[in-house]
Symmetry: C2
Subunit: 274 residues, 2 copies
């Protein structure tokens, strides 16, 4: 069951003139709810703020948002919180209104029912034929223009395939349809640079910070599919799935490596520690 | 005043779980209403259908849509009809539902209040710094992922500047923020190829067909900003503005040329002929 709050009111009704619908003029966050708490709240809010600043969406009162979220998630043992913030209601036309009030949409969903084996034993993935366009102006943000991900995720329905790997239009590796990608190359932890496309995930950020704290050799760079295929281990990550080791992508197989285990364990213990 | 119809019901209320909001998973059309008729209905519906096919949105009943539109526009002397079609309501996650019913949102707006001088005497335009990302998978469609246009249109508020010229990330000329671009180079009518980005407008299509019928030398190709700057005349077009001759872009000026006058006149007479 889904509970929805639009601008603080329990309703599913959004104004059809909202620019979030008309132009995808907004941002979203997806958070895990555990024991009545929205996990990694600060990191998600920092990303949301940064996105609002980049899109020029002003006037979001984070204290109001936080109060609404506290209210919604405190009775929830396990679930998912989705937060959508749009530029608000506008007239016809691309130009943002001189003054607009951002729309806040909060949804509480039940926890996703991914098989526990995905995290424990790893997953089968596929290479998507849908490519990601490159635009530094939008890169990294979790904005509402997500047709590329929709088309990529529509490529398969086989439930045994858990995630799809996406390349950009130059053929560089970006990540999963709904997740970021890490892999180990020559002993170093590697993840694609997201300056041109992709979503800079909160879990990706946590892993980068962990690797830096632990002095794990780390490269954030441009990688081709061949670079990725040369990896010794690889995994997808996001706030809901945690870490999913990649065991197979099309015809190639990987073991679950030590680095993947170590990072999954570290994230888990952070999670428990709150 | 705006009249809104959501799935045939007079309401502004859209379900917040609509994928049009969540992912920009849908398409739109903007039509001129003149004397109780939605102008160039067939061309707009053909484009909408083609877009639905490309996005895999099925189940839109065009006869229902047409009946709703007839009902809405017949009392309207002059105005704007906006049609939004989304993939419909979905669960959380990018994957399109196995079965979904498209959402139809119809809005009737008052006619835009652009100064008559824009069409008669031409406009001042500016070069936008916001660039368009290139992705053939999405190019040409009037889909709901329009953040690039929003950011471009947010670059200026001076009402004396009527439109902005947009380049793609390669520096190729694409068109206006809300319009297509034509210009005359060495006596030939030229318009950017839209295989990598941009919206293939209905008015653009009408102009292409007119030029072919009239044996006007015509090139649809990749153009740099320098190509455009070498043009003898130039104009923006869309279904609402018709033709706006470009008289100035930043420091360069153009006369209103014969080709521009001829095409504006031809479009006008088609309009009157229905």
């Amino acid at each position: 069951m889904t509970v929805t709050l639009v601008n603080g009111v329990r309703t599913n009704a959004l104004d059809a003139a909202d620019r979030g619908l008309m132009y995808g003029d907004g941002l979203f966050e997806t958070l895990r709810i555990s024991q009545g708490k929205a996990c990694h709240w600060g990191l998600h809010m920092a990303r949301l703020s940064a996105g609002c600043a980049r899109l020029g969406i002003s006037g979001l009162d984070q204290s109001v948002l936080e109060a609404e979220v506290l209210d919604l998630v405190s009775p929830v043992e396990n679930g998912v919180l989705k937060i959508v913030v749009t530029r608000g209601i506008g007239d016809r036309g691309y130009r943002p209104p001189a003054a607009s009030t951002p729309t806040r949409i909060l949804q509480v969903h039940s926890a996703p029912n991914y098989p526990a084996a995905f995290a424990a034993d790893g997953i089968t993935a596929r290479l998507c034929s849908t490519r990601l366009g490159r635009n530094p102006l939008l890169a990294g943000m979790k904005h509402l223009n997500r047709l590329e991900q929709v088309l990529a995720r529509a490529e398969w329905r086989d439930p045994a395939v858990a995630e799809g790997l996406m390349l950009d239009t130059f053929g560089l590796v970006v990540g999963g349809t709904m997740s970021n990608l890490f892999f180990v190359l020559d002993g170093a932890l590697c993840t694609p640079d997201l300056a041109e496309c992709g979503v800079a995930g909160v879990t990706r950020q946590r892993i980068l910070e962990y690797a830096r704290r632990q002095n794990i050799p780390l490269h954030v760079a441009r990688y081709t599919l061949e670079d990725f295929q040369a990896s010794a281990e690889a995994f997808f990550c996001n706030s809901l799935i945690g870490v999913w080791p990649i065991r197979r992508l099309d015809n190639q197989t990987w073991p679950i490596g030590d680095m993947t285990r170590r990072i999954a364990t570290a994230l888990d213990s952070e999670e428990t520690a709150g």
